[in-house]
Symmetry: D2
Subunit: 351 residues, 4 copies
């Protein structure tokens, strides 16, 4: 057996970091060589996250050269992530960045949405957007892959077939419902149990940071279209999972006449589009997020609303797996020429 | 003090019935004279629902004449409800029907959506649709008031000002998120704790029974418009509450130019529309359902999406109060000439 | 009608404070004249807690004399509470203190458990311990009443009849399960939604601050007994409610021979003990906390374990009502000569 | 590589069955050859449980000989399980029975607790009780292994070291808190989301079926002791997990004098007892069930209550893994001479 790839996880102490550690521990070709986390530096990883005790690792403040790392995952917050990755990239290391730093190709747009100047604008043009199913060639070649946001992953996979095939008008609404782990491990009243349990809220109506990311990637799929995208995320009282309900007017007479035949054609087109993708499942009934809990699947249900001629696509995934750490491992697999599903075959939990 | 109204609750053993009992117990002008419930007939109400023990009532199988009732609430399932109300109405009693039986004015449409012939089509034209804020005069005069569905209440209150004022194109999407109590007390895998906890699902994409109700009432608000309504309900892991996110394109140049001024005008218009309504609150930030838990409020947040020129209205209520039993009591108050808020001033619980 | 009592709530911004405001708003003889809260001073109460919007109050930093207050509730943290109450008491105001400051009669014990010197040890001997059912005379006369902790309320009410009647050996275990609101509104990983949802933990095994309070009051009920009390609280993923399961060996031959007759005698003894108490309900089957959600009831189920001759008492209450704000209002009612149930008759929510 | 063992899962449609399928799919030496489930017979497994779609199996009504099965897991209800296993055992197959049928060694006791005559009393004496850590030799040799109940697993592992070493008086209380999946997939009001969410209840005070199982196994550990065991299970609003808090008086002067040194000795004794057990972890702080979610660990925290001289042991596990399917696979591994941890190394999810 070939020597394993020695990987580092920067900022293992956030939820994406913990999930990366869980998944990489099960990866037959990867070995976790270093995990960093400033606030918990010096502690055994298992004392902070008991589920990770079997890894036998100690958290360090920074990634040191002596760790002898071959590949880097960064789960740092934006800005800090690019700053920490720069020296690694200069050393020639390849990396998947789970932060937002390499997602937007335009440094000015980044600054507008993230309120800071981009730490490394010169790298943006070479970074690949890591929605694995849609961008595999670029990912394979890239030195740094920008792992997509959780909402964008669910929305773009839901809309890509319809948009690319010209089935819909570019007048799109994405209504997303997310579990609370998507808000991270940082404290706040908005994630305080008693305030977020037994309630649902909309947020980000003035413009959520995942909106420009969704728009940028949808535009790549339909460059001619004058895209209008509304995105409204909601917080719901569960830990993991995102369900996005996506709406767009169908272009007339592109699908068979009659609701039933239109529905059949639509489903066939979606199945066909994702035929070779191991982690996208097109299903014949509206799915729920629990179907994906703990696994790297994105489950899609495309439907024709017979009364209005609208396309509705329901998309489910686990925000910490396909929406973060799982897709990051999937991207590493593609970058390093491993089988795309390596280390990611674990089934979700039910119930 | 005047003699109290003697009310009956038909089918007290469903969640709308329990909530009616809770609210009417606190009503200074009403006295619960009878509660029925076939499966639990003969039992003390407090043995089935301990929170109702103070009422000291016994469940009976049917409403008997000797109960000497002045007013009837029916919380029976559709069809059974109209059948049970018919003899009461013939006796001259007035009633609020929480079932769907008197909501749709067209018996054929009723049959299409509910798969049964309407038990009393001749009564449909005189029944009032009990969305109290929009239909007070008719409710005041009606013998039977059709208490709206929980989803329609949240959606119609959210859209009425914009639609009536001609602010929006009649191309509407209602994306609703409901707690599980909306699915009732009947058993099923879809409401089994382990299957519905920690998951969110969309349902009813082929057409939910609340859709024709929403469409009928929106059409009354804008009779000229060629209405297209898409309605997608979702089930989320909490007990009470509905949040509806409603989307429609704004008619150009109806609101001030510039996002900020359009937003201000929109909010003013909504506040003005509901100025005299004690249970509708127009708020300056996206609300959450917990703000309404246990109370009869519907809380609305109207917003302009600056990038797309779309109207977004977020609407929250407690599905068992304003979405069912609370609105039923509010309707009784209007029918009987009581103050509209009588018995409904209790505040919601936080947290 | 007599002039209403003008009450103040110190620190309305914690959960006990919010609940006090909800309950006092419904109290026919009380009027909220002032609410304080340092971090939110100057804001309308309804902007911080939307459910309290109807009160029309503004939060102030401190209680000013000009507020013209007749009675004070303090929901401040320990130490700060006694410090803030001292000037009020010197003015001759009466008060219910929801903090721990006046619960332990021994200043040295207070210092041992709370790690600070007591700010007003001279007041301890005159303060009444406000477990209303067990201490009504002292409460009636006291200037300051120490509102019991939530766990002690559930445990002491559960054990008082058996202990006072000499039914049990003084070898007691209290295993309590609490909703997360008991941990307050302060932020921490231990109340962060994603860390506390879908999990249960024991805590305080080295000694929880409610232990000396439980022991002190049980000792008053059975002064001769050499009491041994073990108390283990647990945190469970719900917002409100405490269930305490209490265990103690039954003294032999005090109850009828035969399990069924012992069980009957035990239940009769408990019912008799609480016969005149409007808020304690002795029930014939194991209760659940939802039966008390939003109401001031404590529900008790005493049982004989036939195989071991042990007493088991299950006790349920809403930690924010009978465990905090509701009992505080109950105590005010007793202190001021109002009917004990005044303002507290609202039923709990189901479901 | 050796030929894989062909295993069958009887009654895959309950939660233990689903979890078995998830775990066995990941087992390198086992292959699922057949899954049965009467109510869903004929359907693809993935259409009933989408998370199991990758298995590509179809549910059959019965296990047919032609399935060519080498090993059987039964997740059938009691009685049905023994009846279905009998023909398999006669064929010479080995089996793990997850039902209660082979747990109690005394057929009369079985009949008393399960209200049916045992279908195969002659097999009881040869069945091994499958608490793997305590009974490995018998499990290795047995034809049929009785997989322990979820509560007994948590309680017995918690108490075994103290009991076996004579540290405690045999006067034991087990207070357990379980997630709702432990109540299975069968419908009932007690598992209806709206009735079980946001509430905690005690049940089984009159005697839960896991009590004789706990008592039988504790008696084997301390045959001389006159054991008194009280067991009270509680249902809490989460899907997976059991936390048992176990109490017993410490025998005087068996542990070092001084609370700190007694605590140290106790922890050392527990660590030593489970030194060679890969799935039992003795931890230095009170654990929570989330630490075990999805994994086969049982986590123990033994403590000395310094004020009462009582032993308290907190025990956490995932009721569907170590409490059911995981331990079943662990037992199969022991029976077939595989490495005990084979297929069970997956880490739990956090959060």
């Amino acid at each position: 057996m070939a020597k394993k790839v020695r990987v580092a996880i920067l900022n293992v102490t956030g939820y994406a970091g913990v999930e990366l550690a869980r998944l990489l521990y099960q990866h037959p070709q990867a070995e976790i060589a270093a995990v960093t986390g400033r606030s918990e530096a010096g502690k055994p990883l298992g004392s902070v996250f008991p589920t990770l005790d079997d890894l036998g690792l100690t958290i360090t403040a920074e990634l040191s050269r002596s760790a002898g790392v071959d590949f880097v995952f960064s789960a740092l917050p934006h800005k800090a992530s690019a700053e920490a990755l720069l020296p690694c990239l200069r050393q020639g290391l390849r990396a998947v960045d789970i932060s937002a730093d390499f997602r937007l190709r335009d440094a000015a747009e980044y600054q507008q949405w993230y309120q800071v100047a981009h730490p490394a604008p010169e790298l943006l043009k070479d970074a690949a957007y890591g929605l694995t199913e849609l961008n595999k060639d670029a990912i394979r070649r890239a030195q740094v892959v920008a792992n997509p946001g959780c909402y964008p992953t669910s929305a773009i996979l839901a809309l890509a077939p319809a948009l690319k095939e010209g089935l819909i008008e570019p007048d799109i609404i994405v209504d997303s419902k997310s579990g609370v782990s998507g808000a991270g491990r940082g404290l706040g009243l908005g994630t305080h149990f008693s305030e977020v349990n037994e309630t649902v809220s909309a947020y980000g109506l003035e413009g959520h940071r995942h909106l420009p990311e969704i728009a940028q990637e949808l535009r790549r799929l339909a460059p001619e279209a004058k895209l209008k995208v509304t995105f409204v995320p909601h917080l719901i009282p569960m830990t993991r999972g995102i369900l996005s309900t996506c709406y767009a007017p169908l272009v007339e007479s592109r699908l068979g006449s009659g609701a039933a035949s239109a529905q059949r054609e639509l489903a066939a087109l979606y199945r066909d589009f994702y035929r070779d993708e191991p982690f996208v499942r097109v299903v014949p009934a509206p799915p729920q997020t629990k179907q994906t809990s703990g696994s790297n699947y994105c489950v899609l249900y495309p439907a024709v609303d017979p009364r209005t001629g609208r396309l509705i696509v329901v998309s489910c995934l686990d925000n910490l797996v396909k929406g973060a750490a799982g897709q990051a491992v999937q991207n590493m697999n593609v970058m390093l020429g491993f089988e795309e599903t390596m280390g990611l075959r674990g089934l979700g939990l039910w119930p």
